[in-house]
């Protein structure tokens, strides 16, 4: 380890470290603009020049590797003069518009100009003019302020892989901008304003909204997908103005995806503001007091036998507190075993197995993912299910890992070295069985699996990811077992490396598993003697009149889930109690509506895809009458013989910790993840015997549904910022994607309205052509009204064959 002296202080650093690194360790700040710890070195701003003894010229500390015996001065006359010079150069063409600049108050250039800049201008020549660009709804440009540090260019090349930013022309005509003036398409483009050290790239929705120093700042965890990114909510006057990334090396590094950053403006829209009770006379929902609403709720719940009551919880927008209290309330207070959160899941045969947490969540820590040497995506599109996870996978491929993907369509991925196999919907199990055979007993000849199998056998640290499509597949359990078997065949499930990763991409899904919001397990993965109905059977029971009361925690089975037609039938037959934050048809048709809070309005524990429980703080207030959901349940339980035993959040959290030690304060603060390897045995039949999945074949078009990334939960769906983002792209609500050749065959044009028919069910939607979709497959958004394509599906029908009629 080389030892050097910086400003008279001696320090030993790792070989290859730079002077900047050494100074950092000593707590010495060296001013800089172009240096960014997550990006490659550019060394172009020249602000970090320092003096090194025996070197004739000042050197840039960000790029100069240390050597033994180096003597560095960061505050000598030469250094001060250099900084002054560089500062002046950066300022001569920079406008003095700090008072109207969004970056004002939190600008590196402004801060360093105060310290090193001249107090008057010596430059009296012409200022150059820079061109602005329309980069879409997220990023506003003011390129006159650009100091050409190229951070945005390096970000877009290295992090997003989209190469959307560049610099054209030379010298002082150099112009940073998009190569071709078009909106940014990256799912990470909201990071550009944060990467920019000046006010050249601005957060467009925040443009002119507030000054940085007026904002109150709350530290929260993102709930819009399962990654659990650390973010900071900047708010003013009870309104969220902006969301910024907080750095967290273990999870999001310093980035956020656009959904997490810009969904916030949906928070205040269409809220449930008062408790409401359906009037017996007018049959309409009337505002009520909390006491009346709770009385009516208790009355409904007591009116029927406990087993005629069922609870369904949302897998998004819920803290572990709510989920724990909900299952506690349903099981202990009401006394019903019917409880689930898995409205999107088709295959419940895993419930028969003693599945462990390692079977249900991810086992490779995000931080360790870049070490993977082979990546296999099965039914996963991580870029649009968990963008910050995808970034880790991309880092692995940048380091040389190969990637393979098995999916019913081609992925629009930014992984390097990616080989994609399009496997028809329903053919996955057979494909994976063939792969497993090829891995264990390599056969001769050409098979589609051969290349992957050869790479798989050689992999030291393979990483397998089951994505949303695989998790919600009709044969999900078979796929899971094959995945585990594949990993075990190369010894990749062990104490030092576990490559099995099941991505539960919804923000609260991991917590719902941990807290036992499932019919067969209690909190902390304890097996239950009495197993209740799962989501499918709850809805089917309600439709048949066996379930009389549905208690919904923030979810709407008429909008979400495998079969929304069944969901709506169930809602119309049963009494419905709706506890949640946002308006939804289920709430409109409910018998009692209890207004709850949303994320960012409550202190909550969120569990991410790795199983890391994290505390999120509140930022803003919800509607005046709305209450924290668990407090509603607690108050409601007073009307029963056995009320919930916790009166404070601390007591609730203590109960959670008792049920699952991972939620104890010590565990939360340690924040360390251990590699899990306690998988349940998978020798019990590969695949699940007799599991029908509706394999492909036959004529006609098969419907596959995906979640629309930017609009897939209650808050993001209401965000106008994200709404603008999906305009003009072939994603978004109610869009059906179709192979251009199929479209030609059915004489359908892009943008045309079509009707999808299956038996008596039909849905109208609009068509976008997409060459990534194979022939014979219709790719729909599992979105929301008006085109609810889940109406065409049912739990046992696999991927339905539909017919297509142009309108």
């Amino acid at each position: 380890m080389p030892t050097l002296i910086v400003d008279g202080k001696e320090i030993s650093v790792q070989p290859g470290a730079t002077i900047m690194d050494a100074a950092r360790l000593l707590g010495i700040y060296i001013p800089h603009f172009c240096y960014h710890p997550q990006l490659s070195l550019a060394g172009n701003c020249r602000m970090c020049l320092v003096e090194v003894e025996k070197m004739p010229k000042p050197v840039i500390s960000c790029a100069m590797p240390v050597s033994e015996g180096m003597v560095v001065k960061t505050d000598s006359a030469m250094v001060r003069q250099s900084r002054k010079a560089v500062m002046e150069f950066l300022l001569i063409n920079h406008p003095l518009d700090c008072p109207v600049c969004d970056q004002g108050g939190e600008c590196t250039l402004q801060d360093l100009a105060m310290k090193y800049g001249p107090d008057r201008a010596r430059y009296h020549e012409f200022k150059r003019h820079a061109q602005d660009f329309d980069l879409g709804p997220l990023v506003e440009t003011e390129m006159q302020r650009c100091i050409h540090c190229t951070r945005c260019i390096r970000f877009s090349d290295e992090i997003t892989g989209m190469e959307e930013m560049g610099a054209v022309f030379r010298g002082d005509h150099m112009q940073v901008g998009p190569y071709i003036a078009k909106p940014l398409l990256s799912e990470l483009s909201g990071n550009l304003p944060e990467v920019c050290p000046v006010g050249a790239l601005n957060n467009k929705p925040f443009h002119f909204q507030a000054r940085g120093w007026e904002l109150k700042k709350s530290e929260a965890i993102c709930a819009h997908c399962g990654v659990g990114c650390h973010l900071r909510i900047d708010h003013l006057d009870g309104q969220i103005r902006r969301v910024q990334a907080r750095s967290c090396g273990a999870i999001n590094q310093v980035w956020l995806c656009d959904k997490g950053r810009f969904a916030y403006d949906g928070l205040h829209r269409e809220r449930l503001e008062h408790p409401m009770v359906r009037s017996e006379e007018s049959h309409s929902l009337q505002e009520a007091t909390w006491a009346a609403a709770l009385d009516r709720t208790a009355e409904l719940l007591k009116k029927f036998k406990p087993e005629e009551v069922a609870g369904l919880a949302s897998e998004e927008n819920q803290g572990a507190e709510e989920l724990f209290a909900f299952q506690d309330f349903m099981r202990r207070v009401v006394g019903t075993p019917h409880l689930d959160h898995r409205l999107r899941q088709r295959d419940f045969s895993g419930d028969e197995q003693p599945l462990t947490r390692a079977d249900l969540l991810m086992n490779t820590p995000l931080e360790a993912m870049p070490q993977a040497d082979l990546i296999l995506l099965i039914g996963a599109d991580p870029r649009f299910e968990a963008p910050l996870l995808n970034l880790r996978l991309r880092q692995a491929t940048q380091a040389g890992a190969r990637a393979f993907a098995i999916h019913p369509r081609l992925l629009n991925a930014n992984l390097l070295n990616l080989t994609q196999s399009v496997v028809g919907p329903g053919d996955e199990v057979a494909w994976l069985e063939a792969l497993l055979r090829e891995v264990t007993t390599p056969g001769g000849g050409e098979s589609p699996q051969r290349e992957l199998a050869a790479a798989w056998r050689q992999a030291k640290r393979p990483l397998l990811l089951l994505g949303e499509y695989a998790v919600n597949h009709p044969q999900a359990e078979s796929i899971r077992r094959l995945a585990v078997a594949l990993l075990e065949s190369v010894g990749a499930i062990g104490a030092s490396w576990n490559g099995f990763n099941r991505l539960v991409s919804r923000g609260s899904a991991a917590a719902a598993q941990d807290m036992g919001v499932v019919p067969h397990r209690g909190p902390g993965y304890q097996r239950l003697e009495q197993r209740g109905r799962h989501a499918q059977h709850i809805l089917q029971g309600a439709a048949k009149g066996e379930i009389r009361v549905l208690f919904l925690l923030g979810c709407d089975p008429g909008l979400q889930g495998v079969d929304t037609l069944l969901g709506r039938t169930a809602l119309s037959k049963a009494y419905v109690i709706y506890l949640g934050s946002h308006q939804t048809p289920a709430a409109e048709g409910a018998d009692v509506v209890l207004p709850g809070l949303a994320m960012a309005e409550r202190q909550a524990t969120l569990t991410n895809v790795e199983g890391r429980a994290q505390r999120s703080d509140l930022a803003v207030m919800g509607p005046l009458q709305a209450k924290e959901d668990w407090r509603v349940l607690r108050a409601l339980s007073d009307r029963f013989s056995q009320p919930l035993p916790y009166n404070s959040r601390e007591a609730l959290r203590a109960a959670m910790a008792k049920a699952d030690h991972r939620y104890g304060l010590d565990e939360l603060e340690a924040g360390e993840l251990t590699v899990a390897c306690d998988h349940s045995p998978v020798t019990v039949g590969l695949p699940v015997a007799g599991q029908g999945g509706g394999a492909s074949g036959g004529e006609g078009l098969r419907l596959v549904l995906e979640s629309p990334f930017y609009q897939d939960d209650a808050v993001s769906r209401r965000s106008t910022i994200l709404g603008q983002l999906t305009q003009g792209r072939s994603v978004g609500l109610g869009v059906l994607r179709l192979n251009p050749q199929d479209a030609a065959q059915y004489k359908i044009q892009a943008g045309q309205k079509v009707r999808l028919l299956r038996d008596a069910r039909s849905v109208e939607c609009r068509v976008a052509l997409d060459g990534n979709v194979p022939r014979g497959v219709l790719l729909g958004d599992a979105g929301y009204a008006p085109a609810l394509m889940q109406d065409l599906c049912d739990w046992d029908g696999g991927f339905p064959q539909v017919s297509l009629v142009g309108l």
Partner: protein
């Protein structure tokens, strides 16, 4: 006088392989191929030849920096002769391309590079054609390719044309451009000798340097070291331009008095030596030398350095009394503003600032304090940039103010040139 790089250029069809071979061409290569690479490097070190591109770095030392590992190594010839005033490499390529090719094969053998590139300036259209034809001739004759002269040594050579950017004559800017990227110099360290073209160890040499190699190997380093003067051995091409009666490229031994070069070789200063105002001795980046210095200075690296300038690429630009120095420097500053790659702050912003001030002054709009400001801006650029272009833009301004301050002052006070 001894001729090395210009020994063949007077011959009819000197650019052809037949003529080159008829005059002893490629005989040195045969000798070199039987020598171990390190012996060749030692011989070049012994010769004391310094890089002829401008920086004057000892070539043998540069070669010896190439690590002895098993990575693929590259030899790149810098034929992007862009320094204003310089046109020497063009003549070598035009009249004796095989001398360069022979030198490159020897150099490639010395540093174990199996692949060479000649990065030739985009404007050199005819020269690129001549060079390409010569490379093809050499391939056909078995002098290039999988087994050079049947001796089992591989050396492939490709000619790559640049697109005209001055900064691509900077070795790392050249490598970027050669790799197909925007021509912007790289951060150093790492130096090309360790991480250069496509990440491999790379030697980048000027055309004239490489063209001198065959004679050094043929006659020995000691022979070469005897030419010229101490620390500036060998012969050097000078491109004499400007106000002389017979401008042209001249190969002379280093250490020749500037006055002799101009009076005896270049036909004398227009209107007589007394009409001389100053000389830019090493291309546009080097500070101008006033006549008093020119009277006595000798043309070698150290003497020119002591006189406050640089030998650079050997482009001698002669300026007589008819020239307004302010106008000349304003033109130069415009060149550097235009050619700055725009990557690093001091050069991007500073060259524009300098140029605008010089233009303003030239137009008679200078104000008191401008000279000091010019000097201060030039100081602020110098030594703070990624590559030497910043220094190259600053030095002529500083040098001109030092030598001809009264002309600048006259421009500010009178609003017009001091010369009629």
């Amino acid at each position: 006088m001894t001729k090395i790089v210009f020994k063949n250029i007077h011959r009819e069809n000197s650019h052809t392989l037949a003529v080159y071979r008829a005059n002893g061409g490629y005989q040195t290569l045969e000798k070199a191929l039987s020598m171990p690479g390190d012996d060749i490097i030692d011989e070049v070190k012994r010769s004391g030849i310094r890089g002829r591109g401008g920086a004057g770095f000892p070539a043998g030392l540069k070669w010896s920096f190439i690590p002895k590992d098993d990575r693929a190594k590259y030899l790149v010839c810098n034929a992007d002769e862009g320094e204003p005033g310089t046109c020497k490499d063009r003549d070598i390529i035009r009249y004796d391309p095989h001398l360069l090719i022979e030198g490159m094969i020897i150099a490639g053998h010395a540093v174990k590079a199996e692949r060479g590139y000649i990065y030739i300036r985009g404007e050199f259209v005819r020269e690129a054609e001549v060079l390409q034809a010569a490379v093809e001739e050499a391939y056909a004759a078995g002098l290039l390719g999988g087994s050079v002269m049947g001796r089992g040594v591989r050396f492939d050579l490709a000619v790559h044309r640049g697109a005209g950017a001055y900064v691509c004559g900077e070795e790392t800017g050249l490598l970027e451009s050669l790799e197909g990227k925007k021509g912007q110099p790289r951060l150093k360290p790492p130096f090309p000798a360790n991480i250069g073209l496509y990440g491999g160890p790379t030697v980048v040499n000027n055309v004239e340097t490489l063209a001198s190699v065959p004679d050094i190997i043929a006659n020995g380093g000691a022979w070469y070291a005897k030419l010229g003067v101490e620390k500036s051995s060998g012969t050097k091409l000078f491109s004499v331009s400007g106000h002389v009666n017979k401008p042209g490229n001249f190969e002379v031994e280093l250490g020749i008095p500037l006055k002799v070069l101009l009076e005896e070789y270049a036909g004398g200063v227009r209107g007589g030596w007394e009409r001389l105002k100053g000389v830019i001795p090493g291309g546009s980046s080097s500070p101008i030398l006033p006549k008093a210095v020119c009277d006595t200075v000798t043309m070698d690296y150290d003497a020119i350095g002591r006189a406050g300038s640089m030998l650079g690429s050997g482009a001698v630009i002669v300026i007589d009394q008819s020239v307004c120095i302010v106008r000349a420097i304003a033109r130069l500053s415009r060149f550097y503003r235009h050619e700055s790659c725009g990557q690093c702050s001091p050069c991007r912003e500073g060259t524009g600032w300098l140029s605008q001030m010089m233009t303003r002054m030239e137009q008679g709009k200078g104000v008191p304090g401008d000279i000091e400001l010019l000097q201060s801006v030039a100081d602020n650029i110098q030594g703070k940039t990624i590559c030497a272009l910043g220094d190259a833009a600053a030095l002529p301004v500083v040098g001109a103010i030092r030598a001809f301050r009264e002309e600048f002052e006259y421009h500010i006070t009178h609003g017009r040139c001091m010369v009629a």
